[in-house]
């Protein structure tokens, strides 16, 4: 047992725990205080932000205040200000005497009212209470006794002591009367005061308005207001709560400066002495795009619908930004911030504001141009094939129903013949008749569907060329070389690298070769390469195509680079293609699923003619695909010109076509089946038309909501752990590594952004280390994108989310804005922006070319106000036939003087309608358009107008074309005879007054008219007949132009011809400014664009 000595006292009873208790209690109290601190500050880090904000913003406002005072001093020195200030003082002085009097009266009345009121309200309360009791008393006697009590009370009298000390006696009725009387008096006095002060207020308002109109920044008073607000700020949660959209965003609890009226940068919020903006300074900046904020009012939209993140969280920065494992919608990274636009604006190819150079727009364009939608479905992209498929299905059902109905009808008739009674026979007969009527209705429906599919088939385009034509089109030996690695041949091609092995290359090329059409092609005469080169460079081919490699490259990236086209192309086919790319070798019947040849036409005794007017299948009468599915338009060249261009292009090569290794294996029929398998496996038919694959579906996953896919559904394969923990970068290929927007991964990248970026940089990255057969391997080809492109596409995909916002928050307008939305899809589809400017600041491809640098008047016209300018019906006709003539087509219809050619896109009726509505909506023109009546001019007015028209100060016909070939050689603006059909009179007037405001940079001279009072008068000398003419000269001229006849124009032109040599136009300084008169030609006085 224990060696210890036994203590005297029992330790259980005597031992003291005081120290233990003391220590335990101290610890407990410490934790208690810790808990309190945590509750107040630890869990509320935004309080520290708000404290810091108060200090820094106040300091910033101080500096702003002095600046603002400086500028207000400058304003105060202006005469206008002095005058207004004087007026304000004067008004003040005038009103002073009466104002003081009234104010005194009102304050006296107030005191009296108060005195009466204190007695009256007390008595009234008693009377009201008594009244209530009378009303609710159930017994008659009770009512009566209470009524008596009330009457007695009302006869009692009370004293009211007025402020001047005297007292008066009143009973209840008198009291009430007195009270109302006093109040009436006060109302009267107040009204009069308002009347007296009115001129003073007005003068002061004018003064304040003048100041705020002339201050660029805030006025000192406004800044003082901000200072006061900031100084009085108590820390509190700043919350935006939108119940209908379930938005609760507390972001502004830290980001205090977001909506401040001043521009706040991180630099001005950085405390003195610190070099880099700290956490606080970065949080306090104002929103970098105030315009966006104006369009999306934060009180309605909150923050998180655009930026994502966890709007409710307030306990830490990570939590609030949603940058933690369990928050599914983390803040969009800064470089992908425009992904937020996509969540609501998925249907917009071009965002509502003029969004030149936005990442998200770039992403949308890339998704389309690179042909992503060939494999991946994405809501809104490339809808035509799906719609066509639906139509074909419906057609088949209707056809089937027709056959069944016919059979049933025959059956019913038979039954009717054998019917027992007459009624029965009649009934059956009626049924049979009804079925026949149904069939006729179905016929009508089928016709409609065929009509729709006519448009759809015209609209349906493929990203890649038609491979049914490759036997006619290509150098056979070139095909396997191309397939092996397309970028080796053409570094910027859209065709991606499929990582094919040699067997696959052999099989695929054998299949497409053997399945291609073998029709003969007409022989073409060789052309003149020199002339072809000139045409190629001037007709506008370079708006889409490029030529030259590396630094030498010029032209657009919308279509193929033609540097080595001579190595692969067949001359005869190339001529046909350049002449009209839409011309098909054989029409395709989607109903029968076959290419229709001459033999089918011959069977029915029909001529072998197929085009947009002859698009019915000879076999079944349904619509045929009669055009190549390419966006390449027809430039309406003559056959010779087409030959010249083709000849020039055939000289574009780096080695001889004959030097390609022999590829006769492509005729080996044994390879065909194998090839078909691989064509299907790699989804070649997504971009190309291939025989046997016309109805092939998309092979990729749908991407419409890819950004909101659970991260678990994105297969990181063997890199899951590495991505979660930030292991080493899996991409090792140096070329692919260069594609990653942020370079090799430096930390964890297990998120959507990381997945998309790695997938786009090296699409088979997630196969690395996996044991897979050829058929199982990831199929997505390498699109050889650069960093910016991957960033844009990642932004696009991140924003592709199934939004939880209500429908009213999505941008799905039903009015004219919808026309704009739909129009942009077509504008982007045909690369209209390669030649035309649609948005101020947008650069076209042609603008950037050296050829046009010194002659901007040779560029295609800008379309900034096209909808306001032209008549919609004319626009529709022009778009369907830009030559505006059926016979003389080798020219521009409106601007024959331009070398660059507006091509014929052969838009479908559907697209024509959409485009016209688009232009009208873009210029805020009402639809339908009702042309303005142009008043007929009197003979005198015509004379006056003619004198303006032919004035030496503004010789209109000098630049505008007249139809006289001699003259038009030097013309740089359209013919006036077109105006009546083409233009809207009100626009023409605006145009004449200030052309620069309508189309910046135009060489149409400005300053032709000046404002005299409310009248626009000609700036040059006017003949005496204008004396006393009080209408606008502009209006007169417009009316004249709209009534111009060819004879009149000829007369004026010939009259002017005599004076032309002597007259130096007064507008020459404008031309010089526009850089137009550099070519030395006297007549090159600029063009209207």
């Amino acid at each position: 047992m224990p060696e210890k000595p036994i203590p005297e006292q029992d330790p259980i009873v005597t031992k003291s725990f005081a120290l233990h208790y003391l220590v335990a209690m101290v610890i407990l109290m410490a934790t208690l205080f810790w808990a309190l601190w945590d509750e107040a500050y630890g869990q509320r880090p935004w309080k520290a932000f708000q404290q810091e904000w108060k200090q820094r913003y106040t300091a910033f406002l101080k500096t702003q205040h002095s600046k603002s005072e400086q500028s207000i001093k400058e304003i105060a020195q202006s005469a206008a200000y002095q005058q207004l200030d004087q007026a304000a003082r004067q008004a003040e002085a005038n009103a002073k005497a009466r104002k003081d009097e009234l104010q005194k009266q009102i304050s006296d009345l107030n005191a009296k009212i108060l005195a009466v009121q204190s007695v009256f309200t007390d008595k009234r309360a008693y009377v009201n209470a008594l009244n209530y009791e009378i009303e609710t008393d159930s017994s008659k006697s009770g009512k009566a006794s209470k009524q008596k009590e009330l009457d007695e009370y009302k006869t009692e009298v009370w004293f009211v002591e007025y402020p001047d000390g005297h007292k008066e006696k009143y009973n209840f009725a008198q009291l009430e009367e007195k009270y109302n009387e006093l109040k009436d008096e006060r109302t009267k006095a107040s009204a009069e005061l308002g009347e007296v002060l009115k001129p003073v207020t007005e003068a002061n308002t004018k003064l304040a308005e003048y100041v705020s109109d002339h201050m660029v920044d805030l006025t000192p008073t406004q800044i003082d207001g901000l200072k006061k607000k900031t100084a009085e700020w108590d820390p509190k949660i700043q919350q935006i709560n939108v119940a209908e959209a379930n938005i609760v965003d507390r972001c502004e609890s830290c980001h205090m400066g977001i909506r401040e009226p001043l521009k706040i940068s991180a630099a001005v919020m950085t405390p003195k002495g610190e070099k880099k903006p700290d956490e606080y300074a970065q949080a306090f900046v104002s929103h970098p795009e105030p315009d966006l904020l104006k369009a999306h009012d934060p009180d309605k939209f909150g923050c998180s619908p655009c930026h994502q993140g966890n709007g409710r969280a307030t306990t830490s920065i990570e939590k609030a930004h949603g940058n933690y494992e369990h928050w599914l919608w983390p803040l969009f990274p800064k470089e992908n911030v425009e992904a937020g636009c996509q969540t609501c604006h998925a249907a917009d190819m071009v965002l509502v504001s003029g969004d030149v150079g936005w990442t998200i727009s770039e992403g949308k364009d890339l998704f389309r141009q690179k042909g992503c939608m060939g494999c991946h479905r994405y809501e809104g992209y490339d809808r035509e094939p799906e719609d066509l498929n639906n139509l074909t299905q419906q057609l088949k059902q209707f056809e089937q129903q027709k056959i069944e109905n016919t059979k049933d009808a025959a059956d019913l008739m038979k039954q009717a013949d054998a019917a027992a009674s007459n009624e029965e026979a009649n009934r059956l007969n009626d049924k049979a008749v009804a079925l026949r009527v149904t069939n006729s209705k179905i016929d009508g429906r089928i016709q409609q569907l065929d009509f729709q599919s006519h448009s759809l088939m015209q609209d349906q385009k493929k990203v890649g060329p038609n491979l049914k034509d490759i036997r006619l089109k290509l150098n056979k030996n070139w095909i396997p070389v191309w397939l092996k690695k397309p970028t080796d041949f053409r570094p910027n091609t859209r065709m991606p690298n499929f990582r094919l092995n040699d067997e696959q290359v052999r099989a695929i090329s054998a299949y497409i070769w053997q399945s291609a059409l073998k029709d003969p092609l007409p022989q073409q005469k060789p052309g003149k390469a020199d002339h072809g080169k000139e045409l190629f460079e001037t007709r506008g081919c370079l708006a889409c195509h490029s030529i030259g490699e590396g630094d030498q490259m010029q032209g657009g990236t919308f279509a193929a680079n033609l540097t080595r086209v001579g190595e692969k192309a067949n001359y005869d086919y190339l001529v046909r293609w350049i002449h009209n790319a839409r011309q098909r070798t054989r029409p395709y019947c989607p109903y029968e699923k076959k290419d229709i040849g001459p033999e089918d036409y011959a069977k029915k005794g029909l001529p072998y003619v197929f085009d947009l007017e002859h698009s019915q299948c000879p076999n079944d009468g349904h619509e045929l695909q009669v055009q190549n599915m390419t966006v390449m338009p027809s430039l309406r060249l003559t056959a010779e010109d087409a030959q010249d261009i083709a000849t020039y292009l055939m000289t574009q090569k780096q080695k001889e076509p004959s030097s390609y290794a022999d590829a006769s294996f492509m005729d080996d029929p044994k390879l065909k089946e194998e090839g078909k398998k691989w064509v299907r496996q790699f989804g070649c038919a997504g971009c190309h038309e291939i025989s046997g694959f016309e109805d092939e579906g998309r092979i990729g996953t749908e991407l419409t909501f890819e950004g909101s896919k659970p991260i678990e559904r994105l297969d990181f394969a063997l890199f899951t752990e590495g991505a979660q923990r930030g292991g080493k970068e899996p991409i090792t290929d140096p070329e692919d590594l260069k594609r990653l927007p942020d370079g090799a991964a430096k930390g964890p990248w297990y998120d959507h952004k990381g997945f998309f970026e790695h997938k786009l940089a090296e699409p088979n990255i997630y196969d690395q280390g996996k044991q897979k057969s050829e058929m199982e391997k990831l199929r997505m080809p390498n699109l050889h994108l650069d960093q910016e492109q991957i960033r844009a596409l990642t932004t696009f995909l991140l924003g592709s989310q199934e939004s939880s916002l209500p429908d009213s928050y999505q941008y799905k307008p039903g009015d004219a804005r919808r026309d704009i939305q739909e129009g942009w899809w077509i504008v982007k589809k045909y690369n209209c922006m390669g030649c035309h400017q649609f948005i101020p600041g947008q650069k076209t491809v042609l603008m950037g070319m050296a050829r046009y640098r010194d002659t901007p008047e040779a560029l295609p016209p800008k379309l900034l106000t096209e909808g306001a300018r032209v008549d919609p019906e004319w626009l529709r006709r022009f778009l369907s036939n830009p030559a505006q003539s059926d016979t003389d087509t080798n020219r521009n219809g409106v601007r024959p003087y331009l070398q660059v050619r507006m091509p014929t896109f052969s838009f479908s009726d559907n697209e024509l309608r959409k485009l016209v509505r688009f232009f009208e909506a873009l210029s805020q023109q009402p639809l339908p358009y009702i042309p303005e009546e142009v008043p007929t001019l009197t003979a005198k007015e015509t004379d006056m107008a003619r004198s303006l028209f032919s004035s030496t100060a503004a010789p209109c016909l000098k630049c505008h074309a007249t139809g006289d070939p001699q003259h038009d050689k030097f013309a740089t603006a359209p013919n006036f005879l077109l105006a009546k059909q083409r233009l809207k009179p009100d626009w023409v007037e605006r145009w004449m007054i200030d052309p620069q405001a309508v189309s910046p940079g135009t060489s149409m001279p400005s300053g032709l008219f000046r404002k005299q009072g409310s009248q626009w008068v000609f700036a040059g000398p006017t003949p005496p007949s204008f004396q006393g003419y009080d209408k606008d000269h502009t209006k007169l001229l417009v009316d004249y132009i709209f009534q111009l006849t060819p004879e009149e124009q000829r007369r004026v032109a010939s009259a002017m011809g005599r004076t032309r040599a002597s007259a130096e136009p007064p507008s020459s300084k404008h031309q010089a400014a526009a850089g137009a008169s550099t070519s030395g030609r006297t007549a090159s006085s600029g063009g209207s664009r």
Partner: protein, 309 residues
């Protein structure tokens, strides 16, 4: 050795109680064991010397005149318990400040988390689902555990060991408790927490929880091994095997109990004894089934249309 994986599991706020449980259990068992050992020594001494038994009845000190023979709960016990309460309060406060509730993302019915784990105190039950069907593991076994715990006071006839720690006087009770609580309940929670990863697969501590891991494992039912195909035969076969386990196991347990615990055996009535045997054998059935499943890949022994064992 994947230390990061180990740390991720151990540091998850969900698992803090279990990580704390391990050292705490070891410490308290050690403490109880130390006191039990001292008491057992004292008991042995007192049994040999009647004189000492008169003066020594506390384990630390012999009796002294003037000392109270018994002390009051208030204040002498309660003042220590209150101290303990203060310390535990402080610990809980610190815990609740530093570790927030481990909330995860909003539930998505289309996407189940993997591994989907019960709260830590239920992980033992979840682990049992590997060995029995949900009806047995989720309903029958928990009911038996609760009823078994309720029954203890009625079948514990041993009057000794009340109010002090001892091993010698209550070998069977303490042994059974340690086996049932430590080996079965706590060990299964630890397995469920540290060992079971994605797909409820067995990952040794330090092995990476790879979601794409594939293993080859085929489990069979015992009747299949014997080539029994008809449902009726399977049910009968299973009933015989399970019945045989209780019969044979009962005989073995009976023999051992009588041999090593004659005093208890004599004190027990037949009803008490058979109830005790039933619960004991049912408890032992769990490790037996675990062994069959883990070592021999046997899924079920007794297959009926209604339940599987």
């Amino acid at each position: 050795m994947d230390w990061r994986q180990l740390w991720e599991i151990a540091s998850a706020p969900d698992n803090i109680p279990i990580v704390g449980l391990i050292p705490l259990l070891i410490f308290y068992i050690y403490l109880a064991w130390k006191q039990a050992k001292a008491n057992d020594e004292l008991i042995a001494e007192l049994e040999t010397s009647p004189a000492m038994a008169k003066t020594h009845h506390r384990k630390s000190w012999p009796f002294r005149p003037g000392w109270q023979k018994e002390v009051h709960v208030w204040p002498f016990l309660l003042r220590m318990e209150f101290l303990a309460a203060i310390i535990v309060s402080a610990i809980l406060m610190v815990w609740s400040i530093t570790l927030s509730a481990p909330l995860e993302e909003p539930s998505n019915p289309n996407l189940t988390m993997n591994p989907a784990k019960a709260p830590w105190y239920f992980l033992g039950l979840q682990e049992m689902l590997v060995y029995f069907d949900p009806w047995i593991a989720g309903v029958v076994m928990p009911t038996l555990i609760i009823v078994g715990l309720m029954v203890i006071p009625y079948i514990d006839t041993n009057p000794l060991g009340s109010g002090y720690y001892t091993w010698k006087q209550r070998k069977f009770s303490i042994g059974t408790f340690l086996f049932g609580f430590l080996f079965l309940w706590v060990a299964m929670i630890i397995i469920g927490t540290f060992i079971r990863g994605p797909g409820w697969q067995w990952f040794w501590p330090g092995q990476t929880w790879d979601h794409n891991r594939l293993i080859y494992e085929v489990n069979r039912d015992l009747p299949d091994i014997f080539g029994i195909t008809s449902n009726l035969a399977k049910a009968i076969f299973g009933a015989v095997v399970v019945g045989g386990y209780y019969l044979v196991g009962g005989f073995i347990a009976h023999a051992l109990f009588r041999r090593y615990n004659p005093k208890d055996y004599q004190r027990l009535s037949l009803l008490q004894y058979s109830i005790m045997m039933f619960f004991l054998l049912t408890m032992v059935a769990l490790p037996a089934k675990m062994l069959l499943r883990l070592a021999f890949n046997i899924k079920y022994v007794w297959i009926t249309p209604w339940f599987n064992v």
